[in-house]
Every structure is written in structure tokens, then in C-alpha cells.
């Protein structure tokens, strides 16, 4: 039992934090514990959550993709344009998702086959894809979308917004992908030790490209949710969102160095960030403090365990010294 507890310690910590954040939020604002509002707020985080789950396998492999928000913009603009052009959504969806998966795969090929550093590559495509989105969108935003493209944003399953259901399904799919498939096993192996994986006949390159393609498709899906929820698209959609996405992944216990982290952690950290943000926004906390709190949370959650270790060893040394002095 204790071993199970220990192996899920990151997740347990997150659950505890979520409970604390929820209590804090309900103290901050009397409106927090309103189911309908919570659900509406949850819908807001779907776009970020989808990208976080797209980024998750890439980070497990020890790589990074900071171009996802730009990929989202390409997708949202494409969806909006196709909608206005009268293309049925069931045709547009696979086409755009394939296109964004391709954008992701381009990153993947540059990283895996050309051996380029992923941060630099995706820094480049971050700009390039954003440029593409602006070029596609033209000078103004795209509006006047047909109802079939905005249906998800205006429908509910019981009290749960459809986009949240979509997110949960996607989260489970990624979870299964990472926990129960060869792709997942390879991903963790590559993240832990790429050289050893290569000698162990793991198809490192293909696995990397697949991860990036999945991330691109996830951003494409996030773009789909964007047009559904916001009924419009512009070249600057989700600009700056990658910081939040990266925070969610890292906070979920996924090591940026690769090789560890679970889907459950990413889900919980998204939930935690959503709880905190919603609570602070409901209490009309000034924007500045919101920025500070998220930044401090990121530092505290990643540095906290090491701080405890450092303190413990410092105190331990003191105690040992005093014991040995007494003994001598």
C-alpha cells in the first residue's frame, strides 16, 4: 500500500493542493461553489488542456514544443475559413487535423532526423506558423461561422459542456497511449536514455515524429474547440498560451528532462490551475497578483521537494554532529 502511495505522491500532492485551492477559492468568493459556473469555467481551460496533453508525450521523450499555440492559430483560422466557404465540418475536421499533424511532424523530423535541438526548432516554427496563420487570416478576423462549427461550444452533456467531455476523452486517449501501448513504452525509454534506447532497437526517430504529430493534432483539436467556443478566428489566437500549457505539464509532475510523468498528473495540474485561476478571477484579484501566484506555484512545486531534502539533510547533520559530540 505504502509503495502505491509513494509512486503516486506527485498526484496525491496535486489532489491535496486542489482541495486546498478549492477551499481557498470558496472563501475568496461566494460564487465559487456554483456548479454551472464551475462547468463554464472548466470549458475555458479546454483549449489549454488539449495542448497540454499534446505536449505531454513530447516532454516525456525529453523534448519540447513551444510552437503549439501558433499551430492552434493556423487550425482556428483554417476551420473558420472552411466554415465560411461552406465546407461540411466532417470534411474539415480530418483535413485540418491532418494539416496540423503535418506541421507537428515537420518539427518532429527536424528534431529526430536532422538532430536539431527542439527548443530552437520550435522557436523558429513558433514564428513561422504564426506568420502562416496571419497570412491565412488576412487583415481582419474571420467571423460568421456556420452553426455546425460552433455546435460544441453551445451544447452540454447534462451540466457538462461538450468541449469538456471532448477534453476528457482526449485525455483518456493520451493516457492509454502512454500507459498501454508500445509508443508509450518507447517514449518513456527514450526520455530516460535515448542512447540506450537506440542500442535496444527502439525506433527513436519514428517515435519522436509520432509524438510531434500527435502534439500538432492536439493543437489542431484545440483550434477546433476555439472556433466552437469563440465563434471566430484571428491570426493572433492563443498568442502567449504556451506558458500556461508548459506550466500545466511541468506542474503535473512531468520532468522537463524526460522519462517520467503520468497523464493523471497532467489532468490534475490542469484542474489545479483552473481552480486557482477561477477562484482568483471570481474574487476579482488584480491581474498582477494572479501572475505572481502562478509563477510562485510553479517554482514552489518544482523546487519544494529538493528544498525539503536540503533542509532535512542540514538539520540531520546538526543532529548527527551533536550526537557524536555527546558520544565522544
Amino acid at each position: 500500500m505504502s509503495r502505491v502511495l509513494r509512486s503516486f505522491s506527485a498526484e496525491l500532492l496535486l489532489v491535496a493542493l486542489i482541495v486546498l485551492a478549492a477551499i481557498w477559492s470558496s472563501q475568496l468568493s461566494p460564487y465559487f461553489l456554483d456548479l454551472n459556473n464551475l462547468m463554464n469555467s472548466a470549458a475555458f481551460f479546454v483549449v489549454f488542456g488539449l495542448m497540454a496533453f499534446g505536449l505531454f508525450p513530447v516532454v516525456v521523450q525529453g523534448e519540447i514544443d513551444i510552437s503549439l499555440a501558433s499551430t492552434l492559430a493556423v487550425a482556428s483560422v483554417l476551420f473558420a475559413k472552411l466554415s465560411v466557404a461552406g465546407v461540411p465540418v466532417l470534411v474539415a475536421l480530418p483535413v485540418v487535423l491532418a494539416a496540423t499533424a503535418l506541421l507537428g511532424a515537420v518539427n518532429g523530423v527536424l528534431v529526430a532526423y536532422a538532430g536539431l535541438p527542439s527548443l530552437a526548432v520550435t522557436l523558429g516554427t513558433l514564428g513561422a506558423y504564426r506568420g502562416v496563420a496571419y497570412l491565412l487570416a488576412g487583415d481582419a478576423g474571420v467571423t460568421g461561422l456556420t452553426p455546425e462549427y460552433t455546435f460544441l461550444g453551445l451544447s452540454w452533456v447534462g451540466v457538462v459542456p461538450s468541449t469538456v467531455v471532448l477534453f476528457l476523452i482526449f485525455a483518456v486517449v493520451i493516457g492509454v497511449l502512454m500507459e498501454a501501448t508500445r509508443f508509450g513504452r518507447y517514449s518513456y525509454a527514450i526520455g530516460s536514455n535515448p542512447d540506450a534506447s537506440r542500442t535496444a532497437a527502439v525506433p527513436v526517430r519514428q517515435t519522436r515524429v509520432i509524438a510531434y504529430a500527435v502534439a500538432g493534432a492536439a493543437a489542431g483539436l484545440a483550434g477546433f474547440v476555439w472556433v466552437n467556443q469563440y465563434q471566430s478566428a484571428r491570426g493572433d489566437n492563443a498568442d502567449g498560451a504556451i506558458l500556461f500549457v508548459l506550466t500545466a505539464v511541468v506542474l503535473g509532475g512531468v520532468s522537463i528532462k524526460g522519462g517520467s510523468g503520468r497523464a493523471l498528473g497532467v489532468l490534475l495540474s490542469t484542474l489545479l490551475l483552473a481552480t486557482i485561476q477561477t477562484g482568483m478571477k471570481l474574487a476579482n484579484v488584480p491581474g498582477t497578483s494572479q501572475t505572481l501566484v502562478i509563477g510562485l506555484l510553479l517554482i514552489a512545486s518544482t523546487g519544494g521537494p529538493q528544498l525539503v531534502t536540503l533542509l532535512r539533510s542540514a538539520f540531520g547533520r546538526v543532529r548527527r554532529t551533536s550526537v557524536s559530540t555527546a558520544g565522544g
Partner: protein, 356 residues
């Protein structure tokens, strides 16, 4: 990692997938398109007694311009006895404003006063507010027309364009080549200003002394980027006389870049700017004129209009008069647009009168 760990993982995963699939089927068949709990209207305001709750949401917090408008809103709040709150994120991102508005709706205010960062993307959140009985008034930057009740427009696009050209004429009476710097291609008011300025230069004899550079440059309200662009524009067009920007960040930054390049008094930047940020340029004689409006009064008028709407004192019908006391009376025009239309021209003669 042992093979048994894999098997266990796989088992958990497959079970989860099966569970999710099984759960999804009945869920999807239960899919509805009516928002649960959407009908709950905000507390009826005219019932008297309780304070009216009015929230003001700027594009983002931390910008001096919005802070001045906030003061106007707070003044109105004090005079009318409102529960006035200033809300928003310090990040200039549409998603941040959407989150702010979504959570504002949950607090059931009587009215929202909003400067939309992306007028289309925030529209669904504002529509949700309206369907919950909250009155929505936009100021400074409009949202989609069906997502708000009123738009208090500081200056009609046409008047703003002409006032900026007038400021350009004060700087460079002999006319000359003009270049434009906007915030982004997605800022509708900046785009409209440039369009009308080009039109005026083409057709209005008053401004026929000007020519313009067709390509508009974008500086994203960033001071450093505005400066780089200003400098590069001067290199690209040695005969450039005036740089015009609707951004209160870009216009002063561009003027500073001109001065840094030693071309102060020969090339001019003008357009929208807070008087405090251009006082030194005007006093040193490097620049003759910038323009704006009184953001505090704009915030005041928008807040008063929002409160009166919530109280049911006014409607959004065309021709409705809105009495804003000391700030004057305004009339609702086409499509719920209220024109504030009080341009201010800052010159050496009057710059000391303004404290914002």
C-alpha cells in the same frame, strides 16, 4: 521497468479506455443545447435598495490609459453609489479577458463596462452575460454589435482620422509623406483609422498636401518595437515627414526615436498619446501636436450609461438621450453606438492643463 509493470499498465489503460467509451455513448445521447441554469437573471436592479454592481474590464490592466479611464468609472461609481469594481488580467491576451468576463458573469453584476481586446472572441462570453440579464456597455474598443447593448465610442473613426491628420498638419504645415504604425492587423479601430486617413488624403482637399506609405507597420503596443520601426521607416523613406499611430504607446515612442536619431523638428510622430507622455516633446519644441480624448470622462460616461441601462432609466433605441450630468448629454445612434466625440488636441498652449 519490468514486463509485469507493462502488463499492469496496459490493463489499466484498456480498462480506462473501455470505461470512457462506455460512458461516452449515453452521455452523447443526452447532449443538449440549452445552457443549464442560463435562465437565472441577475438580481433585478430597479427594485431599489441594493447597490448596483458595475464591473469595468479594460483590455488588460497596467496601462496608464486604462487606469485614467478607471478613475472616471470610479468617480461615476461614487456619485451614483455603485458597487464599482475594476477587473482584468495584466496579460494582453484574448483568452485572459474571456476568462475574466466568464467569471464576472458568475458574480451576477448588473452591468459590465468592457474594452474588448478581440471583439469577436469575447462576444460569446458577453452574449452569455446579456442572456443572464447583465447589461453590457463597451468603451474604447467595441465587441460584435449583438454582444453588447451600447458602445460608447470615444471618437467616430472618421473624426479620429481627421483629428490625427489635423495634428499632422500642425506638425508639418507643408504636408509631405506620412507613414502609419498600428498595434496589430487585428485591432479593428486602428485598421479603420488608417483606412479613413488614407481616404481623406486621397479625396479631402484639406489634406491633399500629404502623401502616404501604403504598407502599415505593426508594433503590438510595444515601445521598443515602435522605435525600431520608426527608425527603419525613416531609412526607407528619406522624405518622410510624419509618422501617425493610433497606439498611445507607439506615438510617443516613435517621437522619441526621431529625437534619438537627431531628426527632432524635421520628422514628426503624432497620433494618440497621453498628454503626460508627450509633454516634454511639445515643450522642447520637437513636436507641435498630439491628440486624444479625455479617457477619464469616457470611462465616466460609459459607467453612467451602464448604470442607467441597468436601472431601466434608458433604452438602447436610437435617439435615446443619456444624461451624464457634468459630462454632458449623449444620444444613442445607429446600432447602439453612442458617440462621445470630444477630441482633444494637445499643443504648447494647452498641454499644461491636462493632468493625465
Amino acid at each position: 521497468m519490468t514486463e509485469s509493470a507493462f502488463t499492469r499498465r496496459r490493463f489499466i489503460g484498456i480498462a480506462a479506455a473501455a470505461g470512457a467509451a462506455a460512458a461516452a455513448v449515453p452521455l452523447l445521447s443526452a447532449c443538449t443545447t440549452t445552457a443549464p441554469g442560463a435562465a437565472t437573471a441577475a438580481g433585478s436592479a430597479s427594485a431599489g435598495g441594493a447597490k448596483l454592481k458595475v464591473f469595468m474590464a479594460p483590455k488588460f490592466t497596467g496601462l496608464a490609459y486604462f487606469e485614467v479611464a478607471r478613475k472616471g468609472g470610479e468617480d461615476a461609481g461614487k456619485e451614483l453609489g455603485l458597487d464599482f469594481q475594476y477587473i482584468g488580467s495584466d496579460k494582453a491576451e484574448a483568452t485572459e479577458q474571456i476568462a475574466t468576463l466568464t467569471n464576472a458573469v458568475a458574480q451576477k453584476p448588473n452591468a459590465l463596462v468592457v474594452s474588448a481586446i478581440d471583439g469577436d472572441a469575447v462576444a460569446p462570453a458577453l452574449r452569455q452575460a446579456r442572456s443572464a440579464g447583465i447589461k453590457v456597455v463597451t468603451y474604447d474598443a467595441d465587441a460584435a454589435a449583438d454582444a453588447r447593448d451600447l458602445f460608447v465610442n470615444q471618437l467616430s473613426y472618421e473624426l479620429a482620422a481627421q483629428t490625427m491628420l489635423d495634428a499632422a498638419l500642425l506638425n508639418s504645415p507643408e504636408g509631405g509623406l506620412v507613414a502609419f504604425i498600428s498595434a496589430s492587423p487585428t485591432a479593428p479601430n486602428h485598421t479603420a483609422h488608417v483606412k479613413f486617413m488614407k481616404q481623406n488624403i486621397d479625396t479631402n482637399p484639406k489634406y491633399s498636401k500629404f502623401k502616404y506609405v501604403d504598407t502599415v507597420q505593426f508594433a503590438a503596443d510595444d515601445a521598443q518595437k515602435s522605435q525600431d520601426i520608426a527608425l527603419n521607416l525613416m531609412q526607407a523613406h528619406p522624405d518622410l515627414k510624419v509618422i501617425i499611430s493610433s497606439s498611445a504607446v507607439s506615438a510617443p515612442a516613435a517621437e522619441q526615436a526621431i529625437i534619438n536619431a537627431g531628426k527632432g523638428g524635421k520628422v514628426f510622430a503624432t497620433g494618440v498619446a497621453l498628454p503626460s507622455s508627450v509633454k516634454d516633446f511639445i515643450k522642447s519644441g520637437n513636436s507641435k501636436a498630439f491628440m486624444m480624448w479625455d479617457p477619464a470622462e469616457l470611462g465616466y460616461v460609459a459607467t453612467v450609461a451602464a448604470a442607467q441601462l441597468a436601472q431601466g432609466k434608458i433604452t438602447t433605441d436610437k435617439g435615446t438621450k443619456i444624461d451624464c450630468g457634468k459630462a454632458g448629454t449623449y444620444e444613442v445612434g445607429e446600432a447602439g453606438e453612442v458617440l462621445y466625440n470630444k477630441p482633444l488636441m494637445f499643443t504648447a498652449d494647452n498641454i499644461d492643463q491636462y493632468s493625465f
